[in-house]
């Protein structure tokens, strides 16, 4: 996936189905409500392709030549791709749908399905992905800011978020209280924290403990 300016309204639906006629009709359906669509005949083609880095979801056929839909579902996290999946199948296999849902699929639809069901599932999946992306982006920003701290500042931050007073921190780190205050100012600025409470929340997201 390549980096691209994140546009809140931009999104893409990926359709993977080996039946050309079915694939085309599904593309048409999804496009008719305004989504952009990219479609593939096999899982391998999808893995080889470059997909824009925008909120997305995959409409995935269970039975595919080569890597099956379920195989792909299992493989995606391993190659670092996190994307919601809507399964479609002409087979109506119950054990298979259970397996797919257990592995985190958004929906499992049996062909032929009501088009509204698919479109609802897509809307839900894209909204979900957008949310996940926001959280991920926030966390990435947070990490980047934390990277700006010096080793000493990180030590001080860990003490601060664990509730120690400046005096106690000075004792703990064998330094002057004035120095601790100095570091603390830097930390608040670099982390863009408006309050101590905000800094504590950031530390939680980053998983910082003393």
């Amino acid at each position: 996936m390549i980096e691209r300016d994140v546009d809140e309204t931009d999104s893409i639906v990926i359709v993977i189905d080996d039946d050309l006629s079915f694939r085309r009709s599904t593309e048409r359906l999804i496009r008719s409500v305004g989504y952009s669509v990219q479609s593939f005949g096999t899982a391998a083609e999808f893995l080889r392709s470059r997909i824009p880095d925008v909120p997305a979801c995959v409409v995935l056929d269970v039975r595919l030549p080569g890597l099956s839909g379920l195989d792909l579902q299992e493989a995606l996290p391993k190659v670092g791709i996190k994307v919601p999946i809507i399964f479609i199948t002409a087979h109506g296999d119950i054990p298979m749908s259970v397996q797919a849902m257990k592995a985190g699929a958004v929906e499992f639809l049996t062909k032929p399905f009501r088009s509204q069901d698919l479109l609802d599932a897509i809307e839900l999946a894209i909204a979900g992905d957008r949310e996940t992306r926001k959280v991920r982006a926030r966390l990435a920003g947070l990490r980047a800011r934390y990277q700006l701290l010096t080793a000493r500042e990180r030590e001080v931050m860990a003490c601060v978020v664990s509730g120690l007073l400046n005096k106690q921190i000075a004792g703990e780190l064998s330094t002057a209280e004035k120095t601790v205050k100095f570091h603390r100012g830097h930390i608040m600025r670099k982390m863009r924290a408006r309050s101590l409470a905000a800094l504590v929340r950031m530390a939680e997201h980053l998983g910082i403990e003393r």
């Binding site: 039946d19 006629s21 079915f22 085309r24 009709s25 599904t26 048409r28 359906l29 008719s32 409500v33 039975r63 030549p65 080569g66 479609i88 002409a90 087979h91 109506g92 054990p95 049996t110 062909k111 032929p112 399905f113 088009s115």
Partner: protein, 573 residues
Amino acid sequence: MFSRSESVGIHSVHEGVAKAAVPPSQRIVESDDRRALRPAARSTPRILLADDNADMRQYVQRLLTSGYEVEPVGDGEAALAAARENPPDLVLTGVMMPHLDGFGLLRALRSDPRTRSIPVIMLSARAGEETQVEGLEAGADEYLIKPFSARELLARVQNLVILKRARDALQRELATHNEDLSQLTQELIASRQTLQQSAEAQGRSERRWRAVYENSAVGIGLIDIDGNFLAANPVLQRMLGYTEEEFQNISLLQITPKEDSETTRSRVVQLLTGRLSEYHIEQRYLRRDRSIVWANASMSVIPGGNGEEPMLVKVIEDITERKRVEDRLLNAKAELAHATRMTMIGELAASIAHEINQPLGAIVNNGDVCLRLAAGAIGIHYEIREALSDMVNDANRASAIVATVRALAKRSTPTKTLLHFNDLVTDVLALARRELAERQIKVRNRVAEDLPRIFVDRVQFHQVLLNLVINAIDAMSTVEEKSRILTIWGKRDKLKGKPAVLVGVQDFGKGFAADEVDLLFEPFYTTKSHGMGMGLRISRSIVEAHCGRLWAQPNANRGATFLCVLPAGAEGD
């Protein structure tokens, strides 16, 4: 297990023969018409094989080569010359041959005292009942129609050779102490019939007679020309449930079921009129309690002489147990065939449902797209909308019909039990025994002894394993014989981190191309002229329904291996 019970029969008879064997110091009578009895010292029975088709000769020779010394010849004249030169234990002959055909050969053999008593099996491509009757009337002991099964041929050959050897041994025994066999026969008959012989002579013939018939594992009975029993050995007494005394008042027809009595009567007539020297048949007999005993039976004539009547010797081998085992196997096969049919229908319905739902899905999608576009457009006739809407509804209706059919044909829920994989292998090798033997395929069982048990439906896994075995057999039909090796292995493995059993069915057959590996499991994909292409598909469905996986991979050198991994123990819902 079957081969064991069969071989018990052979060994017992051979033991009987061995006990009756002639001490070298004693002289063997070699009057002209007893020359055929000579092959006493040989341990491997000799078979003379006459057929003008080299492939046929090769095939039969290969089948028999492990237990017999086979002399192949290309026509009837050569066969006759060879038989006269050195009478074999059995003649196997085709019907249509250059120079002298099978019937001509048979007549020539039967008309010559030296070769008269050699059993003859005719192999013919002519299936007509008339031809068969013609063959049997000309004095053939068996008449097999091509294509015959290897098993059938082996059984017939074995039976005839055993019976001939038993009879030879009996006659040799009779001949051992007396230069004149007919005199001994007379003596024997006389001793049993009139008891007027001197005590000494009677004792002598009795001893010899008993040596043969009391120690034999087969039932032996002496019958007069009216079909009444003169004597029956202990085995025959036990087999049919009559005492020795009671046998004196029993006729052949009393132990023969009604349906078979006419055949038996005509066989006896043929024997007594010299048209047959002996015959062999697989037949039922009635016990005293009217229950049935299945037997391999033979009957031959001890010629009369000096005004004495000829006698008939009947040799009966109890094969009831073998029959029972065969019946059980037949039942298992029937059960399997039924299960196969049911899964086939289920899988067929599922495949058709899948194939039909694809285009139906596309129709519904496209219809919906049109409806959406039409909804926002101006100037579209309302009937267009209605027609689109009907289209979508009808596509959905069609899909519902397919779903109903599929539900009807749905596989019944499997009955799972805890099984050892090795037991499945044993079952399936028994089921495929005939095919394996016919195609000359060696089986290597490399299943680890300590595998955890698997929780599966026995009949369904018979289906899976048998399917893989038959595929392997078919794949090896064109490779040379020494490479026809089927290996079944099994070992411990892990599936999703839990204990599992991994098994492989490996052949050295023609294998498959790399791009075929996905197609193999597709419905209706087959490389066989007689296949439907559902076998692997069904097998995979069954394995997946047991939470396992089934796949194929080409071997490094040649052939293919089909692998199946199944969770161990009681889990697997």
